[in-house]
């Protein structure tokens, strides 16, 4: 008898690049970094690079990075990366065994499902998005999904981290682009950590750092990232190159530039904090050539995700990729298809992090009901990624023999057992069943999702912060606002 394929499960895997393709993209990236170079506005980064032997031109801030710099940084980055949760129950260890799903970011607007109004986001919107994420098992970490526009602009991102850590017990991935805010962010992180002490081995928040395409690193944002990396804060380097506008119009050209932007960021971070935890971002986009807007989705984004996820993995980095998001302005066929198809393909490429939940309009506005709908998509993606369990128990020949031709399997105890084990993914929000039932008592999935949001917000209890945590966070944000306004 032929045994089932080891290890008893066949799971789909998607691979776009072969060995030659990966090597070619890597070599062209090194050529770009060494030949064209990258502009580092940060004096500190330039000093580190110069001391390490790179060719630095202070006037243009241009740095040419030799291949060995990049190879060394790839080798020294800390791995595996732990994205700790403040309660210890929702840790995300990025060791390749699981894909953790997070929100999209960062929404200047919120589509309020209670009023139907699209308006500037507030701290309360961010808080609610965290509570919903906390309640949904399919969401593994929290992103800065809505900017608190009602907070002092100078400390908005810091307020965001505080709100996120307060309103969810899951790991928080935020934004911090001002080095002056770093000590306050660490105080906020400490206030949320067990015992009220910042633990560099268990960072409860991480930071998304974005190079400025093409091939530039902002001074303040990179300085902040370097300081945070030295304190054990994982840095997610997210290039937002737009093919055709801030990157070459071709997919291959954009992939190489995106890779170069991420790796040059990594070089600076590893020089500032050798061994610090780093996450590679396998995601890039195009500019829509009719409207001149950011196109988050579509076939090009799917191919970018696949290629870059594979490239990041080939370096041995944990990878963050994208899905769920859509350029659509409402919950509709377009939002479902774009977000769902990109999530499915990304999931099968098996990144460690997959973000994009809860937003519409090219990640410009938050929709809480979409979080619930996206969680349904996550479950379907996970079911596909799990694949087919393949062994004699699952083939069920013994049961087929017992039931025989003409019988049915509904009454077999194995049917119940396997259903409970998750053999079928049963939708919680999407509609199945007969048309008549739906006509008479069905609720459209968007309304159902909105009702689930309302129920979560009314009943879900988030694990409290350590004693005095909220007060410490408030004090840190106030102190930061005072210090910054004092200049």
């Amino acid at each position: 008898m032929t045994p089932a394929t080891e290890p008893g499960r066949l799971a789909p895997r998607l691979s776009l690049l072969d060995d030659n393709g990966r090597a070619y993209l890597h070599e062209r990236t090194l050529e770009l970094l060494a030949g064209v170079g990258v502009r580092f506005a940060s004096e500190r980064a330039r000093a580190l690079l110069r001391d390490a032997g790179a060719t630095v031109d202070d006037e243009s801030a241009l740095v040419k990075l030799p291949a060995e710099f990049v190879e060394r940084a790839i080798a020294t980055a800390g791995r595996p990366v732990l994205l700790a949760s403040r309660d210890g129950a929702h840790d995300a260890l990025l060791d390749g065994s699981e894909t953790y799903v997070g929100h999209d970011g960062m929404g200047a607007m919120t589509l309020d499902h209670r009023t139907g109004e699209r308006r500037h986001s507030t701290d309360q919107d961010l808080r609610e998005a965290m509570i919903v994420a906390d309640a949904l098992d399919d969401i593994g970490l929290c992103w800065y999904v809505a900017t608190p526009n009602d907070a002092d602009p100078a400390v908005q991102s810091l307020q965001g981290i505080a709100t996120m850590l307060t309103a969810s017990s899951k790991h928080v991935q935020g934004d911090l682009s001002d080095p002056r805010l770093v000590p306050y962010a660490l105080e906020v992180g400490a206030a949320a950590s067990p015992g009220g002490v910042w633990d560099p081995t268990r960072p409860v928040f991480s930071i998304v750092y974005c190079p400025v395409s093409p091939l530039q690193h902002d001074a303040d944002a990179l300085d902040a990232a370097m300081l945070l990396a030295a304190q054990g804060v994982p840095i997610v380097v997210y290039s937002l190159a737009l093919a055709g506008a801030t990157a070459p119009v071709t997919l291959a050209g954009t992939i190489v530039q995106t890779n170069a932007e991420i790796l040059s960021g990594l070089v600076a971070l590893q020089l500032a904090a050798p061994g610090s935890p780093f996450v590679y971002v396998g995601n890039s986009s195009i500019m829509d050539m009719r409207s001149c807007t950011y196109g988050a989705c579509g076939p090009e984004a799917v191919l970018f995700n696949l290629a870059l996820t594979e490239l990041g993995h080939s370096y041995g980095f944990p990878v963050l990729s994208g899905g769920f998001s859509s350029d659509a302005k409402e919950l509709c066929m377009q939002s479902g298809y774009e977000g769902g198809s990109m999530a499915m393909v990304s999931m099968i490429a098996r990144p460690e992090l997959l973000v994009g939940v809860g937003m519409l309009d090219s990640a410009q506005f938050l929709s809480l009901p979409k979080m619930v709908l996206d969680a349904e998509v996550v479950r379907q993606c996970r079911r596909v990624a799990h694949g087919i369990d393949l062994d004699d128990r699952h083939v069920m020949l013994d049961v087929s023999a017992r039931i025989g031709p003409g019988g049915h399997f509904l009454g077999a105890k194995e049917t119940r057992v396997f259903l409970r084990e998750g053999e079928h993914e049963l939708p919680e929000v999407f509609v199945r069943g007969s048309y008549e039932t739906w006509r008479t008592s069905g609720v459209p999935e968007v309304e159902r999702a909105a009702a689930i949001v309302d129920e979560i917000l009314a009943t879900h209890k988030v694990a409290p912060l350590p004693d005095g945590g909220e007060g410490r966070m408030r004090a840190a944000v106030q102190a930061a606002a005072g210090a910054l306004s004092a200049g």
């Binding site: 500037h120 526009n149 602009p153 908005q156 009719r290 001149c292």
Partner: protein
């Protein structure tokens, strides 16, 4: 020849546009005739195609750049005091913000439509915008922001214009991803463009009063 010039402009063929512009000038056509008989109608077509989604942004930019080259050729032939410009628009990305692609695109489209455009770049302070009203004789100030944290700079700039007693002399337009018509109304801006073509239409409407 004017029709050929118009077509060459729509195609963004700089070489042909320059040659035809010079040939028309040599044949005795006035700068204004060339502008109004060929170049502006050509850009109207480009703008129309952009609005209807029939051409891509890079094609629009090519035509706008080609138009600029032709205008440079026409300028020395203008009668004294005759201006081809619909007015001067001073544009800039507000202080604290580095994003400028959208703003630059709007600038090129405005130039293509016949405005004089002064691009102050990124990180422009309220004081710099205010100074531009007198120094550059701006008819319109166009402020852009991508970051929500920098939106308040738009409010500060409008306040600074009022303080300097210049608010009535200049129209204020704002744009950028987080900006909405409602926000423009809220802060007392005169116009908002949801995209580059809409910004040009709005600017034309504002200068025509």
């Amino acid at each position: 020849m004017k029709d050929q010039l118009k077509e060459a402009l729509i195609e963004g063929n700089a070489e042909t546009v320059n040659a035809l512009t010079q040939a028309l000038l040599a044949s005795g056509a006035s700068a204004r005739e060339i502008l109004e008989g060929a170049l502006l109608p050509g850009m109207e077509v480009v703008g129309e195609r952009m609005r209807s989604g029939d051409c891509f942004i890079p094609e629009v930019l090519l035509s706008a750049r080609t138009m600029q080259g032709a205008l440079d050729l026409l300028k020395p032939h203008l009668a004294e005091g005759d201006s081809m410009s619909l007015g001067t628009v001073v544009i800039g990305t507000v202080e604290g913000d580095l994003h400028d692609i959208g703003k630059n695109l709007v600038g090129m489209m405005l130039q293509g439509a016949g405005f004089e455009v002064v691009n102050l770049g990124t990180g422009v302070t309220p004081a710099q915008f205010v100074a531009s009203v007198t120094e550059r004789k701006a008819a319109i100030i166009g402020m852009s922001a991508l970051l929500t944290t920098t939106l308040p700079k738009m409010v500060q700039t409008i306040a600074a214009l009022k303080e300097a007693g210049l608010r009535e002399q200049v129209k204020v337009m704002i744009g950028g991803a987080p900006v909405t018509q409602a926000y423009a109304d809220e802060i007392g801006a005169d116009g908002y463009g949801a995209n580059a073509a809409a910004a040009v239409d709005k600017a034309k409407a504002l200068v025509r009063g």
